[in-house]
Each structure stands twice: as structure tokens, then as C-alpha cells.
């Protein structure tokens, strides 16, 4: 009981410290408002505003129809270029796609000679290249069919395929972008904030002051984890409510309580990592480097940029140790798929486990690190 009273009072002190630092407060507010908003709205669709050019050597009704069918938002209005310009313009990245319509294209189509349309694709943008290619192919085939049949009627196939997107029926990219951004921000801010809280006390010498009082390392570390976790939890909830749900209009299918509960567990794990880094770094420069080395994998390999199952086999076991990976799948399940606790309990357990490991490791190193820091 006394332990928790101490933690409570130390925690209050911790909160006061953070709020007295204006730069930190501003950066936290920015991270949970503008940063989320711009990230969510920037990454709309995978193929969006793609630059495209047409080499029209046919100058027919059909070739113009194809050109007209490529329009925003997927593609920019196509530019007409000459065949000689293709290489140079693609080299300089003026166009991501170039569609070449050969001479006598319309004529050949009409006579059933199966003329070929060449599509040059800049394959250095991998995702956009493959999706854009399939869009262009569909558009060309549709236009050609339309031209031949002189109607909107499409060919009747023996079997039709109906594709349905579960959880995000319209495929609004912003939903995923917003959640992804929010998750990355809380990972990053929590780690920096808690690590910095420890380093700041060390710089000011107040940590020694705490250590000579009848307080255990557990109380000191726990108060930092709890206080900084609480700040981020509040920031997260507000950001979720105001930015994500209200401004960006992202629906949350699952239980908000469950979401907040799981987030709390994740924040414990992330804060423990922050403290852990704070205990192994001797100087601020070392902490900064360590932090980058941890934050980049934590945010990039959590499954937000690349789904876990697509990661190479060698990397997958490594990412298993990143709490962010489990939190990402937890959050997606609750927010988009409306999962309940019976479905996502394994993630919660793993996060608790990983958090405890980092927490105990920092406890073990705590006193030693203070001693060495002189």
C-alpha cells in the first residue's frame, strides 16, 4: 500500500514536470493533432494523381476515348507525347505510366487483328505500379469493348465474381492511414517521453535525491511509466475522439473501452522500453541514437507499412518481440473488425509479457546506471 502511495505522489510530481516544459507540451499536442491529420489525409488511395502520358500514333476516336477514360483522381489528365520522348520523360520521373497506342489501332481492333497496347510502368514505386497497371488494363479493355459493341453492355461471363470489402466497404484509405499514424505516434512519443523523463532527472541530479530516500527503484520507475503513460493515454483518447472520429470521420466498430484498455497495456510496454533505453544510455547522445534504432523498427515493422505475413521469414521472428506489432494487430482488430476480447486476448497477453520483460530489465539496470553515470 505504501508503495502505491509513493508511486502516486511521485507520479503527480512527474506530471507537473512534463507540463512545466512548454516545448514538450507543444510537441505532444502537435503529434496528436496536426501530425495525425496530415498523415491520414495525405495517404488517400494507393493510386492517386498518378502521372500518365499517352503516345497516340493512331489519332482515332478509340484512342481519344481511351485517353479520356484516364482521369482524376486515380490519374492526372494524360499528356500526349511522342514516342521519342518516352525514355527521357520516364527517366526524369515525369510520368509513372506511359500508354502507347500503335498506328491503325482502331482499324486493327475493328478487323479483329488484336493490336497490342504497350504500357510502360515505372516499377520503382512497387505498389502503385501493380495497382495502376491493372486499372489501366481494365480501362483499355472496357473502352475497346465499348467501342466494338457500341454500347455499355459488357460481355456476359459464365461466372461472375462479386468482391466485397469487409470492415471498410468503400475502401477509404484514410481510415487505415489515420489509425496507423496514431499508433506510430504513440509508440514514438511514449518512448521518447519516458526515456527523457529519466535522463532529465539524471541531468538535474534529482534522481540521486530520490535514491537516498526510502523509495525503491520499482517505485521510481513505476511512477515514471504510469505518469508518462497516462499523459499519452489521455492524448490518445482525445486524438481518437476529436481528430480520428470527429474530424476524419473514421468509424470505430469495436468497444472503445476495450481499445482504451489495450492501449493502456501497450503504453506500459512502450514506456518500459523508454525507461530501459534511458537506463542503458550513458549520455544524451547515446540515448538519442539508441532511440532512433528502436523507434524506426518499432514503427516501420509493426505491420502498418507491410503486413506481417508479407515480411520475410527471417524478419518475422524479430518483429514478434516488438510490442507495436501486437498492438497494431490488436488495434486494427478492435477498430476496424469490431473484435472483442475473446478474439484479441492473445495480443493483450503478449503485450503484458513483453512489457514486463522490459520493465524488469530496467529495474535490474536502474541503480547500476545511476552509479556509472558519474
Amino acid at each position: 500500500m505504501k508503495t502505491w502511495i509513493n508511486i502516486f505522489w511521485l507520479g503527480i510530481k512527474e506530471l507537473r514536470s512534463v507540463f512545466s516544459d512548454l516545448v514538450m507540451v507543444i510537441l505532444i499536442i502537435y503529434s496528436f493533432s496536426l501530425a495525425i491529420y496530415s498523415q491520414a489525409t495525405a495517404t488517400s488511395e494507393s493510386v492517386n494523381n498518378a502521372s500518365i502520358a499517352i503516345v497516340d500514333e493512331d489519332h482515332s476516336t478509340l484512342s481519344r476515348a481511351i485517353a479520356n477514360a484516364l482521369y482524376p483522381p486515380y490519374f492526372k489528365t494524360p499528356e500526349l507525347i511522342s514516342p521519342a520522348e518516352i525514355d527521357a520523360s520516364m527517366d526524369l520521373d515525369r510520368f509513372m505510366f506511359v500508354v502507347q497506342i500503335p498506328p491503325q489501332f482502331e482499324e486493327d481492333v475493328r478487323r479483329g487483328r488484336q493490336p497490342s497496347v504497350q504500357i510502360d510502368i515505372d516499377a520503382t514505386a512497387v505498389t502503385q505500379a501493380s495497382l495502376g497497371n491493372s486499372y489501366i488494363q481494365n480501362i483499355v479493355v472496357d473502352e475497346v469493348n465499348h467501342f466494338i459493341n457500341r454500347s455499355d453492355e459488357t460481355t456476359v461471363y459464365p461466372v461472375t465474381l462479386v468482391q466485397r470489402r469487409a470492415f471498410n466497404p468503400n475502401g477509404t484509405g484514410m481510415w487505415f492511414g489515420a489509425i496507423n499514424a496514431l499508433i506510430n505516434q504513440i509508440s514514438m512519443i511514449t518512448i521518447i517521453l519516458t526515456g527523457a523523463a529519466l535522463l532529465r532527472e539524471r541531468e538535474h541530479g534529482t534522481i540521486e535525491h530520490l535514491l537516498v530516500m526510502p523509495l525503491s527503484s520499482f517505485q521510481i520507475v513505476m511512477s515514471k511509466v504510469l505518469a508518462n503513460g497516462l499523459i499519452i493515454l489521455v492524448a490518445f483518447s482525445l486524438s481518437m475522439l476529436i481528430v480520428v472520429e470527429t474530424i476524419l470521420d473514421v468509424p470505430i466498430s469495436g468497444s472503445r473501452f476495450l481499445l482504451v484498455g489495450g492501449t493502456t497495456i501497450y503504453l506500459f510496454a512502450a514506456a518500459a522500453i523508454g525507461i530501459f533505453l534511458g537506463t542503458i544510455a550513458r549520455t544524451m547522445a547515446q540515448f538519442a541514437l539508441l532511440m532512433i534504432m528502436v523507434i524506426i523498427p518499432i514503427t516501420m515493422l509493426s505491420g502498418g507499412l507491410t503486413p506481417i505475413e508479407s515480411q520475410p521469414e527471417i524478419i518475422q521472428p524479430v518483429t514478434w518481440f516488438l510490442p507495436s506489432r501486437h498492438y497494431m494487430s490488436f488495434a486494427q482488430a478492435v477498430i476496424f473488425r469490431g473484435a472483442d476480447i475473446t478474439i484479441i486476448w492473445p495480443q493483450l497477453l503478449i503485450m503484458i509479457g513483453l512489457g514486463s520483460i522490459f520493465f524488469s530489465a530496467s529495474l535490474g539496470l536502474f541503480r547500476r546506471s545511476i552509479a556509472v553515470s558519474r
Binding site: 516545448v23 515505372d122 514505386a125 532529465r200 516501420m300 508479407s310
Partner: protein, 925 residues
């Protein structure tokens, strides 16, 4: 010598405020030249501020200030006279670079003043010989004792023959022997350069006796000026200390009664503190060497010695903060144990640095500690009430601790340390930097605690008059206890007139004992000063080149670079992190980020179970894109497994599929795609359509129709640059862009912020360094680190990731150079606007990670983004470098084709440096 042609500094109506506090309040004063002028007064009366203003390190806020015959608000004048002024800020070795050796420090300062190599060599030799630092030329400044640090500081100040030497409390925290040597040194130098004016501030009144002219200050104002004699005469006091007190306004004098210490009652019994052969080593440095002593309960035990002699380390070992290397320590008969919470409740501790929470008010600080010691609410209220009365803190209750004057802070620290009524107090230099009156007040409290409450007090100090008040003291030097006994016995034993002389005697004995050891810090034989004094004038020195050029100096710029390189080299861990870290991240990220959507988990809900339905499903089996999971049996299961992320795709075949197909009734198959990750969902949709079309073609072929003949047009997609369509050809070149930005930027920001925090930035303020020399000079080493990193990463990309560099290496390298320059400039910019290292790291990370990962085209090309993100991407250098890198590696473009990106990248660095330069002030506020 009192009459000089014109004052060295003319101060008229100068006021300087920090927020609302006037540190210097409307001072008008002429400081005569050619003299040794002392600024007297307790801490926080504005001495340091005034000195900062005169040196030009601080920016004048209000009033008029002329130094060396010109207006200090004029940039031109400051540039002209700057080299004539030397300023040594308060704090031991504050403007020295701890990692650099004595010689490197001196060399750096020489370079800043544009001295040639040979000139520097002569000067360094001369100065170090004169000060006795010569044997320690290669020792890092951080490992010097306090006295030696101050000597080195003095050498650094004297390297350019200044006309005005400003020393801010140069002897605070220095042992008496070193202090004596320091003043002797100054005297020698003045003899040799009689025209040099010296402006000194000091807290030791006895030192001030030897000055030519004094300025007594209090509360930002000048009380009186004159020679020591005239001041004593005016006040009718015997010594300066008394004279100063009499100059103070009535209300501040405190009660003038002499502090009486009742004799200690011998209680016998168990000693409160026992140290047996305590030793503590840091690496190969022995901070505390075989220290033993016993402290009786109720005793006031003083620990006397200079800064860095091991007092603090010993105290930390006794409190369990530091593990002991060897030996034993007992408190109340218990062996010291870091986990022993019970013993800690009986001890109060006050560390050297002010260690309360500045962001909490006085009352909040007291309450926090009462709560942490679990006093009951009633007890808390009672204790706080008592302490507030006893320590006169009532009027400050609501004030933030950080805004209290030092003397009151120390009272608060003591109040906090005794809030739980401890039986023992361990106080590490509690009165350092506190004025004499406040010190007396503080001691009254200590005496009361000791004699009335029977508290054992273990206190360290470097003030002799405080040591005299202790029941027993121990003299410490270079990690060893020289002797411990009652003060009067020590004086008697040495046959000395005062404790100070006795201490000097013991120090000289100790030094004599081991004068041949290189470890010996202040080992200057008394004669060496006189000898080298002759040497000082012997050497014919080239005229200092200081007046020649005040414009941009490449040498000065390189001096900063060289110094930074030395510092970086001394922290190999940091370098290892930077190089290994980025290599490791490159591998993890480039491999880990795969945009090829593969192995999608899917399951089928076959409601038909006919050969036809199985044929349809066989399309998905065995594809590298799909990985089949156990079949679904119901719609509910389908939903549940999608929800739990067990599958990302479900194919639902309706009942009667086979029958309808045969009848030509166009059955409809449903594909349920997990739409949470929209990008992935889009890709899956494409794959599913592909599989579906494949099935239709097969169906047609089986029916004897040539499917290929049916289509009206053939489409020939050509995947340029990356025909095999592998993510690595895109991520391989792009990942270094991320690492080459983040690492240099953050290293740069920390290095700069550290300079601000430690105080070495003062050297930039007071030397003729221009902003661009400073900014670019500090940047060069980090650019070099970035370039090495670029080479390592490029080799890794080519040989480990197997991504060939098809285009121009020259173009890529040039772009990388500009890009790294932009990155370090960004770090500089951040650190010029933040105050602490923590804030610099926080800001750099938060402001750079997001744009680099999300808006620079790492996964999604910037051109396809919208809104704010698009704009940020356009303004962020990583965008152009990623573009350039992909173009050089994968597209194989030539130098001229890469020119566009290179030129854009070249723009960022200079712009950022210019912005940073406008934020970086040449003077402190």
C-alpha cells in the same frame, strides 16, 4: 597607479533583467584601468551578470556601456575589442572541453585568435611552464583537479594577451594551496603586463584584501567603491568581511551576534558512521583511496577539501548511491546497502547541486517529501509549519523553487532534508555559492539541529571558517584523507596561525610525499613560480595576429571542426552506434519492408462441394500469393475468422454453383476481403480478379474456345527499371535516405545543445568567432561521419542487398553530400531554438521521423499525395534524396540526368544554416 587616463569600462544606467528580476539594477560606474578590480558581494547580486555584460558575452538590455573606449552595443566595436578581452566564466572549468587534453584546449583557444602553429606552440609552452601545467599537457581537462582546471582556464584566457582579463569567481571550490598559487600567478602576470586590467569577482573576502580597487555590490546595485583600505576606514571595520556587512542596508545585516556553538556532549556508544578503507575507482581513476573515519552520534563532522578531491564520491558511497570498489561503510551499525529502506528513513541527505524540483513550489516540494516519508496528514502540516517558521520560508511558500535565490534554496533543501526528523544529516557542500550572511543563518540551523535535536551531521565544505565550527574535520586531498581531528588540534599540530595555513601545510606534506608521482595534481614546487616568472618575459613573442583579420576565417572554422572531431573520437561508443546502428537498420528495414503482398491467408466457404466448385477454388491453391487455411463451414465462422485476422480473404461459393454453371445461369462467387488495410485490400482485389479471369479463360479453353482469340486487344505491360518487380530495388536505395538524415541530424542537435547546457558556448560569445564559422565548423565533422556512413551503406546496398548501382556514382555521392549537409543543418536549426539536450532530441526526432517515413516517397510517391502531407514532402530534403537514390541505383541515370535532384538538395543546407544563424545569437540574453 590609481590615476589612469581613461576608465577601462564606463557603465551608465545599466539595467539587466531575467524575466521580472533585475539582476543588475541601474548601475552607473567607471572602472579604472590598469588595476586589479574586485567585485564583492554575495551570490546573486549581479556580479556575474555585470561581468558578462562587460565581456560582451551578454547582450546589453538597457543603459550605456563602454568598454575599452567604445560602445558595446556596436557590433563593430565588439569585433574590434573582442580579442582584447578575456573572460573566464564562473564554475570550475566551465569553458573548457572536458574530453580534450590540456594542450588541445589551449591550442583550440590559440586557433580562435588566429595564431600560427609556431606561435601557439611557444605560448602554450610558456604558459604551462609558468602555471605548472606543463607535465600534464596530455591529460584531459575533465580529469584535472579543481585548482588545475582554473589554472588551465586562466591559461586559455591569457593565450591572446588580453588588455582586460575578466575572472568570475576563479577560486571558488579550489583548495587553499591552489588558491594561493593562483593569485601568485596572477600577480606575476600583472607584473609583466602592467597595462592589463583585471576584473575579478570573489566570495572570499580575504582575497579581496589584496586587490587595488573594490566594488561592493548588493541586490543589483553598487554599495560603495574604493580601495580596501578606504572601505575599511569608511566603515571603521577591522576586516573587509565586517566592512561589507556594514555597507549593507540595516535590514539585511542579520543579527550580528557571533555564532556560539555549545560543546558536544560526549555520549559514547556506537559511532553513527563508520568508514573502513573505502575505495572507489572509475575505470583507471581512483576517486577515493583507502578512506577511513568514524563519526560519533550527535557530532558535526566536517569534510574539507577542494572540488574533485573525493568528498562527494565518499558521501555517495555512504548513502549507497555508489557501490564501493573496496572497503566497508556502516550507518548506525548497519552495513550500507542500497536496498535498505529502513536506514534511509533515519538519514537526511542534501546533494551538492540543487536537487529539488524547480518546477514545484516551495510548499509542493515540502509536501512531496513529507508524503514520500509517509508522515500522517496532521504530522505533515505540523512539520511543514514548524520548518517554515524555523527556516523563514513563510513568504516564499507559493514560489517555484527554481526562481528562489540561492540562499533560500539551500534553506529549502535543508528543510526538505530534515522533514522526517532524521537522526543523521549528510550535507554535500550545502553552502557553496551562498553569501556569508546566509551561511551564518544556515549554520545556526545546523548547530541547533545538532545540539538540540542531537542530529549527527556530516558536512563537506571548502570554507575554512565553516570547518572551524565543526567538532572534528578531516582534510581530504586527491582521494585521500590527510588527517582528521578537532580543528584546533590540527592548527596546533602544524604550529600554524590559522586552519588555512595548517591545511596548506598538510597539503604540502602530502605533495612532498609523492612529488614524483605524476598523479599529483597541484604539485608546483614553491620555487617554480619565481623561476618561470623570469621565463615569461624572456621569450620574444611574435605580435599576436589578432588585430589583422576580423573577417571570415577558415582557420577558426577548422579549429571548431578539429575540436569537435577530437571530442567525437573520445566517445567511441557514440561512433559505433552511429555506424553499426545505421547498417543494422538498413538491413532490417530494407528486408523487412516488403511491398510484395504474398502468402495471403485465405479460406474457402464451399456451399456447393461439386467438382465445378472445387475447380474454381483450385485456382487459388498453390499460388505464391495465397496461403490456404482450413476451410470454412458457415457464414458465422467466415465473419469470426476475418475478425480475428486468421484470414484476410474468404471465397464463398454459393449452393448450386455447379448446377447453375452448367445451366448457364451465371452463378456468382463472392470474395470477402479484409478491407482494414486499404492498400493491401486493393492488391488482394487485383489478385482475386486475376485468378477469376484465369479460371474463365480455362473454362473457355476447356469448352474448346480459343480464349485468346476472343479478346479484341492484347496488353503488353512493361515494368521498367525493376522488371522482376521486387521491393528491394526500391527500398534498398531509399532506406539510406532515412538513415543519412536521422543520424547526422540528431548527433548534430545533441552536440550543439550540449554546448549550450554545459556552458562551453561562452567561448563562441567571447572570442572573435563569427556565427558561420561556428555553425559550419561544428558541422564539418558530422558531415564527415555522414559521408563515411554513406559509403558503408552504399557498399551494403550493392553487395549485401544485391542492388546494383546502374547509374552515376558521382551524382549519387554529390547528392548525398548535399543531403547530409542539409541533415546536419536541420539538427543545428533545431538545437539553436531548443534549450536543453532533452528538448533537442525530442524535437529533432518528432519533427524529422514522420516526414521521412511518410511524406518523402518511401512507400508512396510524393506526387500522389495530397494536402499538408504533399506540401511537407515537397519541402523535405529526404524526398529528393530518395528520388535521386532510386534514379541512380535502379533507373541507372547519368550524372547530368541526376542534376535536377542534386541542385534541389544543394539548396536545403545553406537555407537551413542561414535560418539557424539568425536564431543563434552572438551574445547571451
Amino acid at each position: 597607479m590609481a590615476e589612469q587616463d581613461r576608465p577601462i569600462a564606463r557603465i551608465q544606467g545599466v539595467t539587466h533583467s531575467y524575466k521580472k528580476v533585475h539582476a543588475v539594477d541601474d548601475i552607473t560606474l567607471d572602472i579604472p584601468s590598469g588595476l586589479m578590480v574586485g567585485l564583492l558581494g554575495p551570490d546573486g547580486v549581479g556580479k556575474s551578470t555585470l561581468m558578462g555584460l562587460i565581456s560582451g558575452a551578454r547582450k546589453l538590455q538597457k543603459g550605456h556601456l563602454e568598454v575599452l573606449g567604445g560602445d558595446m552595443t556596436s557590433v563593430d566595436h565588439r569585433k574590434t575589442v573582442g580579442p582584447g578581452i578575456a573572460y573566464m566564466p564562473q564554475g570550475l572549468g566551465k569553458n573548457l572541453y572536458a574530453e580534450l587534453s590540456v594542450e588541445e584546449n589551449l591550442d583550440f583557444f590559440g586557433k580562435l585568435f588566429g595564431q600560427s602553429t609556431s606561435e601557439r606552440k611557444t605560448r602554450i609552452e610558456r604558459l604551462t611552464k609558468a602555471t605548472g601545467l606543463h607535465p600534464f599537457l596530455s591529460r584531459p581537462a575533465g580529469k584535472l583537479s579543481g585548482g588545475m582546471k582554473q589554472k588551465l582556464g586562466l591559461c586559455c584566457s591569457l593565450i591572446h594577451d588580453p588588455d582586460l582579463l575578466i575572472l568570475d569567481e576563479p577560486t571558488t571550490g579550489v583548495d587553499p594551496l591552489s588558491r594561493r598559487q593562483f593569485w601568485a600567478l596572477i600577480a606575476t602576470i600583472r607584473k609583466e603586463r602592467p597595462n592589463m586590467s583585471v576584473l575579478v569577482s570573489t566570495a572570499y573576502m580575504d582575497e579581496a584584501e589584496g586587490f587595488d580597487w573594490l566594488v561592493a555590490m548588493d541586490a543589483g546595485q553598487v554599495l560603495d567603491t574604493g580601495t580596501p583600505e578606504s572601505l575599511k576606514e569608511k566603515t571603521g571595520a577591522e576586516d573587509l568581511e565586517a566592512a561589507f556587512v556594514r555597507l549593507l542596508p540595516e535590514s539585511k545585516r542579520g543579527d550580528m551576534s557571533e555564532l556560539v556553538i555549545p560543546p558536544l556532549e560526549e555520549k559514547g556508544g556506537e559511532p553513527a558512521i563508520v568508514a573502513k578503507n573505502l575505495t572507489r575507482r572509475f575505470g583507471d581513476f581512483t576517486a577515493v583511496d583507502n578512506v577511513s573515519f568514524e563519526i560519533q552520534a550527535g557530532e558535526i563532522f566536517g569534510f574539507l577539501g577542494s572540488n574533485g578531491c573525493g568528498k562527494t564520491t565518499t558521501m555517495k558511497m555512504l548513502t549507497g548511491l555508489l557501490p564501493v570498489s573496496e572497503g566497508e561503510a556502516y550507518l548506525f551499525g548497519h552495513s550500507v546497502n542500497a536496498d535498505d529502506l529502513e536506514t534511509r528513513k533515519r538519514v537526511g541527505f542534501m546533494t551538492q547541486a540543487f536537487s529539488l524540483y524547480g518546477e514545484l513550489s516551495v510548499e509542493q516540494n515540502l509536501k512531496l517529501h513529507a508524503r514520500l516519508f509517509h508522515l500522517t496528514p496532521e504530522k505533515t502540516a505540523e512539520r511543514i509549519n514548524t520548518l517554515v517558521e524555523r527556516f523563514s520560508l513563510r513568504e516564499h511558500l507559493g514560489v517555484l523553487a527554481s526562481s528562489l535565490p540561492l540562499g533560500i534554496r539551500q534553506r529549502l533543501s535543508l528543510a526538505v532534508a530534515v522533514i522526517h526528523e532524521p537522526e543523521m544529516l549528510i550535507l554535500d557542500e550545502p553552502t557553496s555559492g551562498v553569501d556569508p550572511i546566509a551561511r551564518d543563518g544556515f549554520w545556526e540551523l545546523l548547530v541547533e539541529l545538532s545540539r538540540k535535536d542531537k542530529v549527527t551531521i556530516f558536512i563537506s565544505t571548502h570554507f575554512m571558517n565553516e570547518a572551524l565550527r565543526c567538532d572534528r574535520i578531516s582534510l581530504m586531498h586527491a582521494g585521500r584523507v590527510l588527517v582528521y581531528d578537532e580543528p584546533k588540534h590540527l592548527v596546533e599540530a602544524k604550529g600554524a596561525a590559522s586552519l588555512e595555513e595548517a591545511f596548506i601545510g598538510y597539503l604540502e606534506d602530502a605533495i612532498g610525499d609523492k612529488s614524483d608521482e605524476a598523479n599529483n595534481d597541484s604539485a608546483i614546487p614553491a620555487t617554480s613560480l619565481a623561476e618561470t616568472a623570469v621565463g615569461l618575459s624572456d621569450v620574444e613573442l611574435p605580435q599576436s595576429s589578432e588585430t589583422k583579420k576580423q573577417g571570415f576565417s577558415l582557420n577558426r572554422l577548422l579549429a571548431y571542426s578539429y575540436r569537435e572531431i577530437m571530442e567525437v573520437m573520445r566517445d567511441p561508443v557514440r561512433m559505433a552506434f552511429a555506424f553499426l546502428g545505421s547498417s543494422l537498420l538498413l538491413i532490417v528495414i530494407a528486408y523487412g519492408i516488403s511491398l510484395d503482398v504474398e502468402d495471403l491467408t485465405y479460406a474457402a466457404l464451399d456451399n456447393d462441394k461439386t467438382p465445378e466448385s472445387r475447380e474454381y477454388l483450385s485456382n487459388f491453391e498453390g499460388s505464391r500469393y495465397f496461403s490456404e487455411q482450413p476451410a470454412l463451414t458457415s457464414k458465422e465462422e467466415l465473419e469470426r475468422r476475418l475478425k480475428s485476422n486468421d484470414i484476410t480473404l474468404a471465397i464463398e461459393i454459393p449452393p448450386g454453383f455447379g448446377r447453375d454453371l452448367k445451366k448457364g445461369e451465371t452463378p456468382s462467387v463472392s470474395a470477402w476481403i479484409d478491407g482494414a488495410n486499404t492498400t493491401r485490400a486493393g492488391t488482394i482485389a487485383g489478385y482475386v480478379s486475376g485468378a477469376h479471369i484465369h479460371y474463365l479463360t480455362q473454362l473457355a479453353t476447356n469448352a474448346g474456345v480459343d480464349a485468346s482469340a476472343v479478346s479484341k486487344v492484347t496488353l503488353e505491360p512493361r515494368y521498367r527499371y525493376n522488371p522482376s518487380f521486387e521491393t528491394i530495388y526500391s527500398m534498398g536505395p531509399k532506406t539510406p535516405a532515412m538513415l543519412l538524415l536521422l543520424f547526422p541530424a540528431i548527433l548534430m542537435a545533441v552536440s550543439m545543445a550540449r554546448e549550450k547546457e554545459i556552458g562551453t558556448i561562452t567561448n563562441f560569445y567571447v572570442t572573435p568567432t563569427s556565427r558561420f564559422e561556428f555553425l559550419l565548423g561544428k558541422q564539418l565533422p558530422y558531415i564527415a561521419i555522414g559521408i563515411v556512413n554513406f559509403i558503408i551503406l552504399t557498399l551494403l546496398v550493392v553487395f549485401l542487398l544485391d542492388v546494383p548501382l546502374k547509374g552515376s556514382l558521382l551524382g549519387l555521392s554529390l547528392g548525398a553530400l548535399f543531403y547530409i549537409f542539409a541533415a546536419t543543418s536541420f539538427g543545428l536549426l533545431i538545437s539553436t531554438v531548443t534549450k536543453s539536450q532533452v528538448a533537442a532530441v525530442f524535437a529533432t526526432a518528432i519533427l524529422s521521423i514522420m516526414p521521412t517515413i511518410n511524406f518523402s516517397g518511401l512507400v508512396q510517391p510524393t506526387s500522389t499525395m495530397e494536402g499538408g502531407g504533399h506540401l511537407i514532402g515537397l519541402l523535405w530534403p529526404a524526398t529528393y534524396y530518395m528520388h535521386l537514390s532510386v534514379a541512380a541505383f535502379t533507373k541507372g541515370l547519368s550524372f547530368s540526368e541526376l542534376m535536377g535532384d542534386i541542385l534541389l538538395l544543394a539548396v536545403f543546407g545553406p537555407i537551413l544554416v542561414i535560418i539557424a544563424a539568425t536564431f543563434l545569437k552572438k551574445q547571451e540574453a
